[in-house]
Symmetry: C2
Subunit: 218 residues, 2 copies
């Protein structure tokens, strides 16, 4: 009985880590679709999003069952409640990767992004994917050092995000308003994706230490 | 004992409804700050955001205690788990109102919005505030008719949001890229605020019926 209970708790973490891997793949693929104007890749992300949603439903159902049947307390209860929060964050990461893919599809066969900003988005994609993978690792290993690293990794994303605004605000931005609107929204999607990955890591810190790290910038 | 338990469950709903009211006030005030370039109003929203965060922490603590001490099952468990979700959504609504206020503060004493789009933002503010208030009412009364109304009310927000893009994409948009970037982000904040209010209502439908309504557009 006790053993099965422990397996159920571990199963929650495994499901959440799988969700992270799935959303890392989604952002990686969406970024390639965006940069290469690759419609089949965009479609792949769009149709695969349901998998993240299913994983999330599965995690939530397991968490609900655990609460109903095992009535966990103390640390175990923290694990289950945190799993519910974390599942929400990761599902949102999947949605944001989906939004990137939808932008690529919407403008196809035209590129969404002016060539000038493409390297920044390649980098935002790389940082985002790395954050998602690291969040998955933190869920699996409860490595608090890695959890803390996510916060500084996220600073790189914030810098890239801010830099996009500097580039667009330059009075010589030659790409017009439509491109600026797309860049604004896409940069926001990447930045929010990273914020959610950081939120995941912070929840794991809370599970392990019983304390939430300091306030999150929003 | 049973009576106290019921009071605790009711207390969760009361806390969440208060959060809705608080975020309705925040968006109303932030919208006025935005449209009237009113710095003190913007500062008010910014300093008041902590109240929403505190209400949320309070709801979460109560939910955690209920789970630990009462081990609720069935509908009661659904109520508690949903409270955790709903608190997250409403806190995010507060953050989005905060972002609106921060935009007003950042550009002060200049207006953030070109005069031409101000009426649309006044309307987005009105719809957003109405949605938050209605979400609070749904939490208090579990009125499923009102809950369903939120979905169609949200269509009005989506229309306004889409219309902003049409206005900016017009090749005669005379306000430049910087204004377009601001309009893009602000319109997104209002739209996301409304999405979260709808998500709150949907959770209450789930609490009452045991079924989530159909998939939410993201």
């Amino acid at each position: 009985m006790r053993e099965q209970y422990q397996e159920q708790l571990d199963g929650l973490a495994a499901g959440l880590a799988d969700m992270c891997d799935q959303t890392a793949v989604a952002l990686d693929t969406a970024t390639r679709a965006l940069l290469d104007c690759d419609l089949p890749l965009a479609e792949e992300v769009i149709s695969d999003d349901v998998k993240v949603d299913e994983l999330r439903a599965d995690v939530e159902e397991k968490a609900f069952e655990l609460l109903a049947l095992q009535a966990p307390v103390a640390t175990d209860l923290r694990i289950v409640v945190s799993a519910i929060h974390v599942a929400t964050d990761i599902e949102r990461m999947g949605d944001l990767a989906l939004h990137v893919a939808q932008a690529a599809r919407r403008r196809h066969p035209d590129p969404v992004l002016p060539e000038e900003v493409q390297p920044y988005f390649a980098e935002m994609g790389r940082v985002g994917v790395m954050l998602a993978r690291k969040a998955g690792e933190v869920i699996r290993t409860r490595n608090l050092v890695a959890a803390e690293e996510l916060e500084s990794d996220d600073d790189a994303m914030d810098d890239l995000h801010r830099h996009m605004f500097t580039v667009m605000m330059d009075r010589h931005w030659p790409h017009g308003v439509a491109a600026a609107v797309d860049v604004t929204l896409l940069a926001r999607f990447y930045e929010r994706y990273a914020d959610h990955a950081v939120a995941v890591a912070r929840r794991i810190v809370y599970v392990v230490t019983g304390q939430m790290p300091g306030p999150l910038a929003v």
